[in-house]
Symmetry: none
Subunit: 225 residues, 2 copies
DNA sequence: GCCTGACTCCGTATTAATACCTAGTTAATT
DNA sequence: AATTAACTAGGTATTAATACGGAGTCAGGC
């Protein structure tokens, strides 16, 4: 991929015309480096249809959208074209939004207050197959402890939590995190405390922690209580 | 206090004119029920002076303010007029903001995205001597578990944490919450593991929890890691 | 029909945590 | 001088957690 003569196809899905024009303007200020072909969509449904019709290099996707929201539109696009690269945009840095979009398969998340340089940085990262996050987003996501759990890992873990852990294990984890002993949990769930012990072992192994403290931290950090 | 003929004196301290007008408009849409006298201030210093000059029923106080911030202004007003009822407003639901304002003596905390009904609910609650919190705020603060730890208790605990726990206990608590055993902690701090055990007992007693899980939850909820 | 994962349960053993008690030193306070 | 809180440490005992192994059932996918 040689940047200079590279034509980059962009789709902007956002219900605010002002935002679409803003992104377009910021992208086009870099026209010397790339040649952009930009399409727009003002609601989720329209975005999905555009994405099915054309192969875009990057799809900017707002979260709050009419008809289909950003999460639904992202899922729909990815189930039709799994290799689409979707960059979530939002004015809010609420963890829930971020997480929902990442779970839906977005490759990055940027805030609407970013400038032209950063928006190009995001586009270049996405094009070259990397993920991209606004600084504020990254800070929000990393904050685990001493860099042990990186953003990617935390996001990935939360996204795949229901794939990693069975529903029974989740149930046990919640009870552990709420100060119940194996025996109490066993009574509550009508199983032997040995069963609970096995779940506990599996939880520690799957989550890569050493003891109860680690399990509780995970439960709280991933907000599953 | 009979609502219908009650004159309610309001002070709005916020550096954004748009916010002040928004609150004013939302309040005045309830003029059939109350008669509002609204004053405005665009920075903390101005707010303090107004509050000293006049007795307001409710003072809306932003957090980020020029000259004196919301926390400082709140403290200043309360030291001059201890019975002032201050309602913190913020566009952010960061725990730190909330906690700082509550520590300064605010009677409530609302987000800027709330509507006219809720803003009236807040004002009525404050006037009648109650506290008021936006739903999202309440959720953030209460969320401990099954209502065992109420917001007031959580806020109070955080405020008085350094009074309740000694620095050594805090140190031990952090190490417990980061998956260290008593023996490891003892080695790290150059004391016997029995000493660590004693600290652990005292921590559980002081914090009213049953086991390691409870200690870890406290450490994370109060954000002391 | 076979295989796998989830869920269940047990045996055995060791280590860690919890409970309760006593008690010394030191520093600060009264 | 007496008291108190913090920090230290030990004794003793019980309970809980951790570790590792094996094993049966059951539902779903291949």
């Amino acid at each position: 991929m040689t940047p200079v003569d590279r034509r980059v196809k962009i789709l902007i899905v956002d219900d605010h015309n002002m935002v679409r024009q803003g992104i377009r303007y910021m992208l086009e200020s870099n026209e010397r480096k790339y040649k952009f072909q930009i399409e727009e969509a003002s609601d989720g449904q329209e975005g999905v249809e555009s994405a099915k019709r054309t192969d875009f290099d990057v799809i900017f996707m707002d979260y709050q959208l009419p008809i289909l929201n950003g999460m639904e539109a992202t899922s729909a696009i990815l189930s039709a074209k799994p290799y689409s690269r979707i960059l979530a945009i939002s004015s809010s840095d609420e963890f829930m939004y971020i997480d929902n979009m990442m779970r839906s398969g977005a490759k990055g998340f940027i805030l609407k207050n970013i400038g032209p340089e950063e928006i190009m940085g995001a586009v270049e990262a996405i094009i070259s197959g990397k993920n991209y996050y606004s600084n504020d987003i990254a800070v929000k996501l990393i904050s685990f402890e001493e860099g042990k759990v990186t953003m990617t890992r935390l996001v990935k873990l939360k996204r795949e939590l229901t794939e990693i852990l069975s529903s029974r294990e989740l149930e046990v984890l919640k009870l552990i995190a709420t100060e119940h002993t194996n025996e109490e949990i066993g009574n509550r769930l009508f199983v032997s405390k040995r069963t609970v012990d096995t779940h506990r072992q599996n939880l520690m192994r799957k989550l890569g922690v050493k003891n109860t403290a680690g399990l509780v931290k995970f439960a709280l950090d991933l907000d599953i209580l």
